[in-house]
Symmetry: C2
Subunit: 232 residues, 2 copies
C-alpha cells in the first residue's frame, strides 16, 4: 500500500525522519505537499478528521491519520522491521527516539530561542547566547550519551538497524550542516558515532535516497540552519 | 507489584506525569529518591544497565528500566487501562501526549531560553521576551487545539480517562501556577478545558493524591515556576 506523508514541501524538517524510515523500509509513499496540491493540500487536512495534528508531519495509513514524528516512527517501525517486536525492545527504541527528538528541538531553538513565530533576525542576540550553550554544553552531553549506548555495536540496539539509528544519522547530518565546527569537534571525541553515520549513509536504500531528488537539500528554512555566526 | 520511580525528590517536574498515572491506576510505587537513598540513589542508577536514561524520570518495572516520560506513560497506559488497546487508539493517545510534552518543554524554556545549565537570573532579559511570546501566541494556539480535540466529550478520547487527560490536567495546573493571569485568560476562551481539569481533579484517586503529602507543591525549581514578571 502507498502511504501519504503530509509535510512541508521545501524542507527536510521533522518530516525527514519519517521519509528516512519509509525509504529504508522500501515503501511507496506520496509526499503530498510536493505534488500538485502543494501546501494547500497539507493545510486543508491538518485539522481534519477525528485525530487532527497540531503541526506537520502526519501520516495517512490504513484509514488512520497519525501525527507527531515519534508516534509515526513507532508505527512504521513495528510494521516494517525497524524496531524490535518485544515490549522491552519497543520501549527502548522509542526512548532513544524521544531523546534524539529532544536534541532536535534544542537545535531548532538555537535560531529561535524567543519564539517560532518571529524571524531569526529579530532574535539574533538571544540566538547567539543559546547557540553557544548548545554547542559547548548540550551537544557534547548528548553525544556522550548516544556514544555510550552505541558502544562497539553496529547500531544502537545491536546488529539490526532501527528507526532510532536513522534518526540519529539525520541528527548528525543536520548538526554537521548547521554547526560544522562544533560537530566535528564533538564527533572527534566519539568516533563510533561518526562510524554509525557512515554505516547508515551506506545502506543501499538510504544511499539511493540521498542521491535522489527526493532528498531536499538542507536550507535556512528548516530545523538545521547554517548561520556561521552561531557555530563556534 | 511495586514500581520504582526514579526522579528528583523535591519537584513535580516531568516525574509528576508518571506519578499521576501511577496514582490513577492505584498502583504501589516507590518514589526512590524521596526515600533514604535520596538523590544519590537516583544518580547512581541513571546511566546504569542496558537501557540508560539521558535524564530522569525513569521507571523500573518487570526487570526493565524505561526512560522518557511519554514512553513510561505508554507502558503504564497499556498495562493499567489508561489507554485504548487497539493500534489506532494507542497511537492517538500517544500523539496527544507528545503534543502536551511539546508545550511542557516550551513552558520550561520561558525561564530557561538560553540554557538549562544557567541560572534564571542570568537569562532574565531573554526570558521576558520568550514568556511574552509564550503567553500571547503559544498557549492560545495549543489550548485551541486541545479544546477542539476535547469538544463536548468528558475526556480527550471519549468517556474513559487516559494518561493524556492526566497529563493535560497537570499541564493546566502548572500553567495556572506559573502564569495565573495568562492562563485564566486562555481558559476563559475554552471552558471545556477548565471542565476537564476539574473532572480529573475530582477523580477519587487523583483527589486523594492531591491532598496527600505525596503531592509535592509547585516551586521555583521545577518546570512551572511563578515568576510574576513573566506573566502578562
Amino acid at each position: 500500500m502507498a502511504y501519504e506523508l503530509l509535510y512541508w514541501p521545501s524542507i527536510q524538517g521533522r518530516g525527514e525522519f519519517v521519509r528516512l524510515a519509509l525509504e529504508e523500509a522500501g515503501e511507496d509513499y506520496e509526499d503530498v505537499a510536493r505534488g500538485p496540491g502543494g501546501v494547500d493540500a497539507l493545510m486543508a487536512t491538518l485539522k481534519e478528521g477525528p485525530t487532527p495534528s497540531f503541526a506537520p508531519p502526519f501520516l495517512r495509513a490504513e484509514g488512520m491519520t497519525i501525527g507527531q514524528t515519534a508516534a509515526i516512527l513507532m508505527y512504521l517501525g513495528e510494521r516494517h522491521g525497524l524496531a524490535p517486536q518485544d515490549t522491552a525492545g519497543r520501549l527502548w527504541v522509542h526512548q532513544l527516539q524521544l531523546t534524539i527528538a529532544d536534541l532536535v528541538a534544542e537545535a531548532h531553538d538555537t535560531h529561535h530561542p524567543v519564539g517560532s513565530g518571529l524571524y531569526y533576525e529579530d532574535q539574533k542576540a538571544e540566538a547567539l547566547r543559546r547557540a553557544q550553550d548548545f554547542t559547548a554544553a548540550r551537544v557534547p552531553k548528548f553525544f556522550a550519551y548516544f556514544s555510550g549506548v552505541l558502544g562497539e555495536k553496529d547500531y544502537l540496539l545491536g546488529a539490526n538497524v532501527t528507526y532510532a539509528d536513522l534518526s540519529l544519522f539525520q541528527l548528525l547530518e543536520g548538526l554537521d550542516y548547521a554547526f560544522p565546527k562544533a560537530t566535528a569537534r564533538a564527533l572527534a571525541q566519539h568516533p563510533n558515532l561518526a562510524a554509525l553515520r557512515g554505516r547508515v549513509a551506506a545502506r543501499p536504500r538510504i544511499a539511493a535516497y540521498l542521491q535522489s531528488p527526493r532528498r531536499i537539500p538542507f536550507n535556512e528554512e528548516g530545523i538545521f540552519r547554517r548561520y556561521p555566526e552561531l557555530d563556534s
